[in-house]
Subunit: 439 residues, 2 copies
Amino acid sequence: MAEPLRVGLAGLGTVGSAVASMLARSQAALAERAGRGIELVAYAAKDPPKDDTLDLSKIRKVADPVALARDPGIDVFVELMGGEGDPAKSAVAAALGLGRSVVTANKALLARHGLMLAKLAEEHDAALNFEAAVAGGIPIVKTLREGLGGSRIARVYGILNGTCNYILTRMHKEHLSFAECLKEAQRLGYAEANPTFDIGGFDTAHKLAILTSLAFGTQVDAEAVHVEGIESISLADLEAADELGYRVKLLGVAQRTEVGIEQRVHPTMVRQGTVIAEVDGVTNAVAVDADTMELTLMGPGAGGAATASAVVADLMDLARGRRVPAFGRPAAALTKPQRAPMQRHEGGYYIRLAVVDRPGTAATIARRMADEKISLESIMQHGRDRRPHGGDDPRVDKPALVVLITYATTEDAVRRALAAIEQDGVWVEKPQVIRIEKS
Amino acid sequence: MAEPLRVGLAGLGTVGSAVASMLARSQAALAERAGRGIELVAYAAKDPPKDDTLDLSKIRKVADPVALARDPGIDVFVELMGGEGDPAKSAVAAALGLGRSVVTANKALLARHGLMLAKLAEEHDAALNFEAAVAGGIPIVKTLREGLGGSRIARVYGILNGTCNYILTRMHKEHLSFAECLKEAQRLGYAEANPTFDIGGFDTAHKLAILTSLAFGTQVDAEAVHVEGIESISLADLEAADELGYRVKLLGVAQRTEVGIEQRVHPTMVRQGTVIAEVDGVTNAVAVDADTMELTLMGPGAGGAATASAVVADLMDLARGRRVPAFGRPAAALTKPQRAPMQRHEGGYYIRLAVVDRPGTAATIARRMADEKISLESIMQHGRDRRPHGGDDPRVDKPALVVLITYATTEDAVRRALAAIEQDGVWVEKPQVIRIEKS
């Protein structure tokens, strides 16, 4: 059997600890499957391992991650520290610069510096593997990079953040407010103390930027992603969605359009009964629409064991001597795509308006929509005392609720119609707008 | 760029034609992604191509598949003829014996001769790739072979035959009989003129045998699969399932148990709302329960384009010089597992009995179940005129319907209880028994 693959691991948080323990536990199975051993020989970590049962007594500790990346005693550098800046960035660059392959779960780093790192890897004949960076244990990177080479992809989309999906699921199932569910998610460790990165959609945007590059052969461009979070979603929206046959999910969507590649992260309405609509809790799902097929992959988007499994799969590929360009094509072949502006987005819309409850309001709204050639699939009006849950405390000045579902139209038209409705003075607060996504 | 990978293709049916056309159409993209061209240079086919727009004028025709497999002008032999015997078997063996890699979609061949072929491939340092053999376009072979190396798999299961799922879906949604739906499936080309191979569960069994080997590192053993088809499923079962919160699906299931590896194909009851339960029509789905995660993949299980995409992905791997043992481990490491006998199967059961409609019948049945220590989750009795759909034509001698759902028990206990009930003379026809599967 060939010499073992010597692994240097930076970061011993949840995922790093799980990787170390999986390599120790599955030693024989991995050696059998990969044709050679995969051995953790050195590590760097600023904190003690998250998993305190981990025995690192026989593993060499290196002072800092950059030194570890440069260590001549390792064949692969595994970066599980996270963060788009240093030390992750300089450590990964150092390893690749020496022709040393890298496995990382760092979506922020790849979303920001993916192209630079892919080029560096190529120049120095090293591999850059990152299955664990997107959707945890789901093998979506491998599927896009290796599985769909003969297909032309039209759209890739999915639920890429377990925290958001957990919150939206809880709100819907238990009729709780966003704030209550967020607090519960934090208590359970599903959300960070500072949750903005997750609930604001930024984590999803990083993952989407990586998927876009893999799916369309483009240069990763996190700046091009339109991002909206779930903070504005209210129980009223989830309940209206339920009534109308939809579910609300935070999706990342990348698609080819006539005006370029559209990359967007925002709450969406998806039809009940579709797989994406029924993915609950912290589970992730990614769907690919290609000319050859529609494919959906579902599984845990986070968690030590699942994410470690993806890291170890990347290591197995390296041990087997397998190397694929980081984004599936040579870095020089990755194109800089036309960015489809959000105003040109086409699709259906859910619009919830809190309006003054007087005759003619619905007619005014419908007319403004018609002025912009927006066809309505449905219009639902709840008076003061007919609002779903929470509406049984009628007060004289309480607004009525009007919910519209439009047929496919453009973002531009919707914005213009809403501006006109604002001029009409019929609404009492800024309307809620949620795009409808086919799934 | 390196020399192109020269492909010899045997079989120009639906999938073969789609592969030839994909290689022609995606030439540039494939070359970019694989780092070298993938060129169809020769073919063998006894019939003209299924796709008559295919231009084969510049491709060399070889008289027969075995000659093609031996042709020194090709690097890879692609076998898309099907059939477990010759010429597929001898052609694949001939190619491997010369150290020439093979890509095939032939599940019957692999289910019967997988171990022999894997050994042959290894001895001659050739690859044997077969992503397209299981679940069409779904990358489940790659996922099991490369993605889950650090995981211990407890169960792999799924909907692996689109014909059966199409028939069961139509029966359920449109309240049609099995015979009517089968006829419709044949008219649409979803079922063969002789449908036994699909509806009898044999196609699913072949695919399951392959998945079992990949998941558990065992020698493929199609003989060890317990097989029941969907011919016995009646509308009454689907309607009872609906009422009880289940769907009926033909599943292939392989799982580790205390007494060995259980491989079985049979109609199952799965809980409504689970992904597997909601997979409709010709779509396939495969789920993997591992210690690290639960993963579900869904997509088209057949069709030219989707299956061709899997074949081309295998070719891309070869073009990139990537090689993995056929079943994920060296052939010599594949174990011969203990076969878990079906009588030892544990799980819940749905039992539908047509019984003589007289007082005490339900009590007799319940007592026989209790004698075998079988706990009932529910017992539902419909008298002559209370039967669901189709039951509104009561006749004096019409039997009553008793439907039982048991908690987890063993196959043995159920068989003994039913034998006792038969002795009691309360049933008027052989009862329907459908195993309940957690999904």
